[in-house]
Symmetry: C2
Subunit: 348 residues, 2 copies
């Protein structure tokens, strides 16, 4: 007999600044009876991603905010525990978008079945999922790195940044990663194959970045903002491309930072260097690039060109604290919350 | 017997803020004997353009600064008064780049002969010259206006802005011009065929802009910066394109403006709206677009689709004051200095 309730973490208030515990409420909801074509899912992994901070705000964006009282959104890997669809069988492991909860009833067609034999199921939330596709689409469609060019990415050990740097290497470019702390920088060079790594927390960050980019910067994959952006912009070459994918350093900002106003100098750089600055969300590249992404990335993982790291936090109740850590840069790899047992990878 | 001297306005010091009279010095230089292939030119018109402010600065840019003691640069329309080239005859009127002076000796091949019967020779400095091509290349290659979209341009009565709006109309878009003062706004709608005009000096500028762009803004051709940019950015639609052509409002700025820092909010707009912000200078489009520009623009002038206005100031000695007026927005049309008599258009 399967669960008929779901433990849920819901949005209790729109946070100002860092989302505290009072931004959330935990509740147990009764689940509906399954209708035709529906499945009951048990959450195995919940993906935590920076974009979620944007959904906790009513500021105009590309996606509607989470409504107060609604379950926090998020991609998940789940096990089918009950099915009224001939497309999904009990025991199937699927990719879904059921959010911060232990169980959910959804249409079977809204899930994608995963093959645990082809790749660890967690990769569907990382390197073979939305973060990997974000890197692939933004880098190849906007960044367009050429052999010998220099590609810089921050949050470089994370699921997007690590894919950006490694895809840049596949394309023959020099990959320079920016990360916080010596250990992450070591991971970049020794484990992920970046050509150089720069610690943005170092007091010599500007000089270190300069030394790591002797020929300037041709592509800056922007996913952090803040002082990293300011330093990188000074190193951009003529005709450099800046895919703008995220600005996590500013997501918790409660007001415009104090001056001086950097916008005039930034636009002057755009003008005098013929820069291309292009925001995107990965959805827009799905029709044109998703098929090639799945083929290319699976191949790059298989041949060792692209490696990935994961940080797994146990227990749905720890998601709020883990999410704060994500925004602070406390994790090295792709952050996942293990909500329930993983039948494909039993714990030792 | 032709002149063997040239009266020149040279750069005396790099200005801080608005270039005062002490930024310039006037001198009379002896000209060299003509070598083979060279011509002696007498300046008829000197073009004054905002980019010259950038050349009066040692800040890194796409072009080297004018060196102290050198003649101020600029495009000119000249008459050939002596020739040692079989390519140019005495009496030819040519486009050259001889700067702020009355005469110059140059290679004949560095000039382009103009046909006064085909178009007024002043158009080679305006609508059929660099400003017109700047509008054409930036709007069509980066802005890519689609039928029914809304295109906004500031400094809209000027040589670049007026061409941007009128080309946008040719392409089926709605053209909204921003200018300073009621008279310029009248010119935009009544004489240049814009769909709407907005006075950026009005206390109700933000509301007026909103009323003039009921469907938002799809293309913002950026050539001013300042508070106009801030207001326009709030009206941009998803996937809007922003060709960055100039930032004249900030050219005389002596330091970064006081805060708050607008850069984070700007980049957030870029991200959430998938904006394309792309700086350019017209040179980069010459190989791909200059031939079609000359054909298209000549046709549009002939059929009345594109009209132009000129402001002509008499006397080289008045160039410094005229240039200050240009940066302040004191002129309506393309600003020219008449340095010497125009044989193609004798004064009444």
């Amino acid at each position: 007999m399967s669960a008929t309730t779901s433990t849920q973490i819901r949005l209790a208030s729109y946070p100002v600044g860092e989302p505290g515990d009072d931004s959330y409420e935990t509740a147990v909801a009764d689940l509906p009876e399954l209708g035709d074509g529906q499945v009951l899912l048990r959450t195995i992994y919940l993906s935590l991603d920076p974009y979620m901070r944007g959904r906790m705000s009513t500021a105009k964006s590309y996606a509607a905010p989470v409504q107060l009282g609604d379950v926090m959104v998020g991609a998940t890997v789940c096990e089918v525990v009950e099915s009224r669809s001939d497309k999904r069988a009990v025991g199937d492991v699927v990719l879904a978008y059921t959010g911060w909860q232990t169980h959910a009833v959804v249409e079977a067609r809204e899930t994608r079945r995963l093959d645990p034999a082809a790749a660890p199921v967690t990769t569907a939330l990382g390197v073979l999922g939305m973060p990997g596709f974000t890197a692939y689409g933004g880098l190849l469609e906007i960044g367009r790195p050429q052999p010998g060019e220099t590609v810089v990415v921050a949050a470089a050990t994370g699921p997007v940044g690590s894919a950006v740097g490694q895809i840049a290497k596949v394309k023959g470019a020099r990959a320079v990663g920016i990360a916080g702390g010596a250990e992450k920088c070591r991971v970049l060079v020794e484990e992920l194959g970046f050509d150089a790594a720069v610690d943005h927390r170092s007091p010599t960050f500007d000089e270190d970045l300069k030394a790591a980019t002797p020929d300037g910067i041709d592509v800056y994959f922007e996913n952090v903002g803040g002082h990293v952006t300011e330093a990188v912009v000074r190193r951009l070459n003529r005709f450099a491309r800046v895919p703008v994918c995220g600005l996590v350093a500013w997501y918790n900002a409660t007001s415009a930072p104090e001056g001086p106003d950097q916008l005039p100098a930034f636009l002057r750089k755009v003008l005098t260097l013929s820069l291309t600055v292009r925001g995107f969300i990965q959805d827009e590249f799905v029709p044109t690039h998703h098929r090639s992404f799945l083929e290319d990335m699976a191949g790059w993982i298989a041949d060792g060109s692209v490696r990935y790291q994961e940080d797994i936090v146990d227990g749905l109740e720890n998601a709020p604290e883990a999410f704060r850590g994500l925004l602070r840069g406390s994790y090295t790899g792709k952050l996942l919350v293990r909500v329930g047992e993983d039948p494909t990878r039993p714990r030792a």
